[in-house]
Symmetry: C2
Subunit: 398 residues, 2 copies
């Protein structure tokens, strides 16, 4: 009598997790320092000391019944007010508390946003390559996830494919910039063009088409890269933010949904999210963690290591002859595999203890992802292994 | 295009929340100390100091990347191990880590458990009176919630009604002892009889019938009251625990699902819960809060005020002639209203600034609930108001 669909999901193992498990097992054999583990997107720099200091101050100074007491389903009003004030100042949009819903990181925000605006019979579009967990989030809404093929030239948007796939059934677009796995940041030009097309489609079909904007890497953007605010360029935007990567606190499961103040039914969507929470039994994030991040708005961990690592890897990969779009942010890089089947290439690379993820599960076969949220010293040591696997495939340093 | 069903849910206001809002508004007029607010079940005693000390020690001593890093979907292994060891020792059952799933309090545990064992076409039975949030939890599974009428003599179980309602379609029973709103604790005799009937029904229908056991009030049990462990008396039990009431930390959203080691498919059910989490985007509770409660197993806030308050109210109510089953635990008492419509009675009581909840939303009309998680001094001051409303209804102290 146990429910089959969740059993079936257990059968579908995550490739990323499998490679990570391999790296850990291999690490036990030869020492983890000797495994070049580029599998998981787990922040490698510590949270700012201030975060821990804020936690201690909260437990020392706040009245305990209030501090650890029930938070309303929307999140704590004082926290929502601070988030709204911060976003207003940063993006010049009139956010109020009523536009903010505190969530279990970006995952919770996306899952809630999608349920609020899409249902059975609707379609949600996303652009390849994309984070595989979008599949279960959208499945739960009853809507269908349609994947727009990648623009593999630049990993911006394949507008031709998008225009033909955006139909009357399209309830929302789920986009992720800076992007996992490509590392690319959508330019202002890209977002403006996207917004223009969407406005025309909205007018044509007579209903809003929402952008669900997955923004956990918003603060990890490299020097000189254009990183536009989607909500400032398209009204019907549901911003999904996480503090996981910017503050290196993925385990604390904290983020927010910020509905653009100019969005259709903005405050109603936020209120609806409280009802979505009721059914799943997850009322809101921890009060203590909500209060702590409210003191950290606009602050980040020292994220500079990611850019350092990216530059080292990008130079080496291109020197070796790999085709690779230069990442504008995140801690991912996404080169083209030297053979059609990236799974075979990644498997082969493991003989040099180089653990990389083939791109098939990102719906964009023929590439591989390196998550370079590791120590720079290890990145440097990994280059020899990269050279060896390249050589095996007939590639050599120019 | 926004989704109608969540808009519709917004229209259905919670009576408890409305009465609480009234109490707060009235408090602003006449001073909150003058409002006898028996509406919400919000703990009124502080968390043990040790909890805050543990939080500070964790941030001071743990390596920050690990402390705030991703927790597996099941919860942190070290936390699950400690919970399993604690439950094994306390209940004499062979719990292992593999039986424990960390959740967003009891709400998350119930919602996950129900989804794991019930689906469209199935039925889940619960016993009146019951916590109204069961309705959205069960609705999300697709199964139908069927309410077994109350045994209003004792608020134990109406076995006659139960036996006729437990059919081939019954996938699970959702029970809550110590009970909100009655305050009654199911006796060993009750649970043994229930287990016996369920085993016969399982044999007859050829499939497991799970008990989803909602146990947030497990630690609030009064002197001399028999408080059996359901999992020790019935194998197919999914225990849903919350630290909200025992440690007075409802805002931290932390609890666990503990599947009885003798339960059918015990470990599989726990694994399935990780897949249920994926779709809703709520991967697991905060790492810091998980680690903190792991150091608090078996400890509680000073819960004695609840028994003190119960005794004062029980004596006064029965002296005034109210029919009332003596609570064995929780911080609720559930007397019979002196007229058929408890809504009218509770509304009338508001003229003495006495805020109580009519029982209709607990599916057991004609009663009213007092949540006595307030200061004893205020309980004592409220007795005069109770006497006045009783007098208006022709009841007087014997």
């Amino acid at each position: 009598m146990i429910v089959q669909k969740y059993q079936d999901m257990l059968g579908m193992k995550s490739v990323i997790r499998e490679i990570s498990a391999y790296a850990n097992a291999r690490g036990k054999e030869i020492g983890y320092e000797n495994v070049f583990d580029y599998s998981l997107g787990n922040p490698s720099v510590p949270v700012p000391e201030k975060f821990n200091r804020v936690i201690k101050e909260l437990v020392d100074t706040r009245e305990p019944i209030a501090l650890h007491g029930y938070s309303p389903g929307h999140g704590l009003p004082e926290v929502r007010e601070k988030v709204a004030a911060y976003l207003s100042k940063r993006y010049g949009l009139p956010y109020k508390m009523e536009h903010i819903f505190m969530t279990s990181a970006a995952a919770g925000a996306i899952a809630h946003a999608a349920r609020a605006v899409a249902k059975e019979g609707d379609e949600i579009l996303t652009f390849a390559p994309f984070f595989p967990e979008y599949v279960p989030y959208i499945k739960e809404t009853g809507a269908e996830l349609k994947v727009v093929p990648a623009d593999t030239e630049s990993f911006q948007i394949n507008f031709e494919a998008f225009e033909s796939m955006c139909t009357e059934k399209t309830a929302a677009l789920l986009i992720n910039t800076p992007n996992n796995p490509s590392g690319v940041v959508y330019s202002t030009e890209t977002i403006k063009k996207l917004a223009q097309i969407l406005k025309e489609k909205e007018a044509k079909y007579g209903h809003p088409i929402y952008i669900i904007s997955d923004e956990p890497y918003r603060e990890i953007v490299f020097a000189g890269v254009d990183n536009p605010c989607i909500s400032a360029l398209y009204d019907n935007t549901l911003m999904c933010y996480s503090f996981s990567k910017s503050l290196s606190i993925p385990g604390e499961r904290i983020g927010y949904l910020a509905v653009c103040p100019h969005c259709a039914d903005a405050e109603l969507i936020v209120d609806m999210c409280t009802q979505i929470s009721r059914g799943i039994g997850h009322n809101c994030p921890s009060s203590l963690i909500q209060l702590a991040v409210a003191e950290m708005l606009g602050e980040t961990s020292d994220l500079s290591v990611y850019e350092t690592n990216m530059n080292i890897l990008y130079k080496e990969l291109t020197d070796l002859g790999f085709t690779c779009v230069k990442p504008g942010g995140t801690f991912y890089i996404f080169p083209k595999a030297p053979i059609e089947d990236a799974k075979v290439f990644c498997k082969d690379a493991q003989k040099y203890d180089l653990c990389m993820v083939p791109s098939d599960s990102f719906c964009c076969p023929g590439y591989f992802r390196l998550s370079y949220c590791i120590q720079t010293e290890k990145v440097e040591r990994s280059l020899e292994a990269l050279r060896k696997i390249a050589k095996d495939y007939g590639m050599e340093k120019r």
